[in-house]
Amino acid sequence: MSALEQPQFSEARKAEIARLVTRYPGAQSALLPVLHMAQEDFGYLSMETQKLVAETLGVRLMAVREVVTFYTMFREQPTGQYLLEVCTNAGCMLNGADELVAHMCDALGIKVGETTPDGMFTVTEVECAGACGGAPVVQVNNVYHEKATPASMDELIAKARSEGGAA
């Protein structure tokens, strides 16, 4: 979806939201799950998407903005097709997360937080992913890759490239 287009929820989404809202005392309480849905549908939460959520739930745009900017898992900028989120919290750091990030960035030719020019990969650092047993952890879109190594990441990147972006 281009940023200029007006985002719209599908009919199925609208029905789902309507159902969801009935589970809470007020529509504003459904804000978090609806934002997640919007992010899933539109890839990120543009200002237009935030307005759509505000209208859908009948809450003020500012209330939506406050929540979106508070939680780091909500993204206001588009990301690459593959979002590589490396945990750099204590457990992963001790197991080489910093070197891992550095390696991945080198391999992709970008800095942390950036997206490759072809729009395929974005690398970010995140706080504890809750999988310290498998440190270091890299979350690729919604899938955890535990005990990640520079080699396993090279492999993953190569595989993604060869699939030509079919996520």
Binding site: R60, M62, A63, R65, E66, T69
Partner: protein
Amino acid sequence: MTTLYINEEEITVSAGTSILEACRSHGVDVPYFCYHPELSVAANCRMCLVEVEGWNKPAASCCTPVAEGMKIHTQTEAIKKDRQMVMEYLLINHPLDCPVCDEGGDCRLQDYAVAHGASHSRYVEAKRAATNHDLGPFVTTYMTRCIHCTRCVRFADEVAGTGDMGILNRSDHMSIAGIVEEACESELSGNLADICPVGALLDKPSHDVSRPWEMTHHQSTCTQCPNGCDINIESRGDEVMRIKPVEGSPEPWLCDRGRYVYDAFRSDNRILEPEVRQDGELLQATWDEAFDRAGDLLRGKRVGIIFSPYWSAEGLASIRLMRDAVFPDAKVAFDLHRRDMRPFAFEEGFSMTTQQIEDVEHVVILGSDLRQRLPLLMQRLRKRGNMGKPVSRIGAMNYRTNMSISSDAIIRPRDWPAVIARAMQQVSDLGQTAAGMDTWLAAVPDRHEAGKVLADSLMGETCALLVGEEIRSHVDAAALIHGLDLLMRACGHAEEGNDGRNLIPEGMNAQLLASAFGDIRTSAGDLFASASAGELDALVLIGSDPVGDGLFPSAAKAALSKVPLIQIGAIAGEIGNSAEVQLPAAAYSEVDGTFINMEGRIRVARQPIRSIGQARPLWKVMMRLAQALGADVPAVDMTELRDRMAAFAPELADVWKDKATEEVLVPVARNRDAEALPARLDSSFDLDVVSRYSMYREGMWARASDLLLAAGKLHALNDVIMHPETLAAKGLKEGEHTVRTFLGEHSCHIGVREDVSPGVLFVAKRGVAGDLSDVTAASIVGGQS
């Protein structure tokens, strides 16, 4: 009630009070930033910590309710240390730039840093950077100074109702932000600078021009709308620098109109000395020369007098005394928005106080853009809304209120009789009626569904009916108001002690105007017509600008081209160009005087600012004029004048004799026998014209204020607006059109909005719409399709 001990002293407060409020009400000083008596509790600054015996940590007093037997200490060593730490923390990111900050000298943060802080900080790391915001024409921001108390956010949410401020991000990145394009949408934005406890939000117009300690304070009354707020005028020398609300007065806020009109006091548009026209040019003259000339133009002549209601009660009364002394046959007009001069069943003014209106079961607004008309009453209604109490509305437009209206309907002015009849029908079907209701009902053949909104609101025990300008300026206003009166009687809302009939007046002092001028008032339109027809020899305008305001601009222009104008007032305005003589009268900030607001509340201003130029209080000018015209001076001093005035409103005398103003209200005029049945209004025009009031452009003072004019531009809608479907039904769309009225044909740009009632031509009173204000109906002859 709960009994507790503060610093060993036993006190009793009502249950549920917070510790902080208990302390405040008993004169115990507890420092705080985020708490504000008018806002919800956020408890985020931690400055208000106190010690509660038996608790193992300090308590935030603003959010801790009192409990029976609680022992509170506000001055222990531990608490002092805590406060010191909180101060150190709050100042971590603060730039410590008091010497260049407007707030300096009047700043909570500065005061507390001295009283409770340590003299140095241990913090040596980098300070947070912040982005400033555009919060409209009246607020400037220095966000580095922000302490994140969120008062501004809660103000926008709860008071202004715009909710366009918020906190973005979190922790060290946290910042206050406004949604920039919408941030200036509040008519109360000027309060933001007052509410910010530090110098982060500052007053833009007075930014970098003065220091708090240079100011002299003058308590007075704002006369820019009938609300008559208490104001604290801050001046440096004779120059007004700011207007601020008065602590402890009924309204803790001021609207932007009342606050920023002050630059009109020193505008080029003021009449500062007597002037007389010579060879086509207004030239400065002495008072004697000016009075001589006025005498020549007025002596023995048939004169029409039009004045504005914003003068003090003394000024208004002196107009009557002058008129009786020298023009005993002259008719006067003071309401530029009234077409129907028959007496109204309930005249202009409120029978309830704003507090009662906030508290009643139901409020219904009929035909008023209340947010523009009475911004602070609207704020009270918003407060109701926040508590879940209903507010309904019927009008020609879904005027913006910044609150959610419980039920509403848009109608055309010609529908009012059918709306009221529909409501009558509903209540009488329920067995509630009043003498005369059947006759009224029988005179109206149609019923309009919007009447249900009205009738439903009347069903409770108490109801406040707020009747606005769409009805007050209706050609058949007396009949409509009679109908509403019957309805209110039928529903039991017209009894002593439970009277919900409120007619929003044109301006201040409505109760006094009714009693002092009721017998001689006429419509301004009629006066202009007489002047144009050669039945008058001169017009005297006292602070009134019928060309710039009101419903008769073209009639006024026609009249002024026929007869000479004697202008008396503080502001010349456009109309000054036609004056033969101008006599300066002092501004409301510059007089000792009495003011009555819409509730009947009396205020006496006693510390005026010195008049600039040669302006004199209006009553002195009036007395001099009477003398110049050869009459005995009706009152030689203020005491004599006030003695004469007591006849118009005896309540005033009580207040002058130092009776507490809280105990006196001037009652509204009632005309029980003002029976009027709705007339059948046949019109060859298919559109109803409704003229829109703008708080930024209405009134001579507002138009002389550059600050308000600039703000008005931001808030302006198209000058002429219609519902898109009404245009579409004629095969037309937004664009240039020719409008036909009884005045002829007129070409203008018509914009469209969905929230205007179909069948209505909504016009701004100024600008390209200009003369359309004179008419009540119009048709479109052609234009862009």
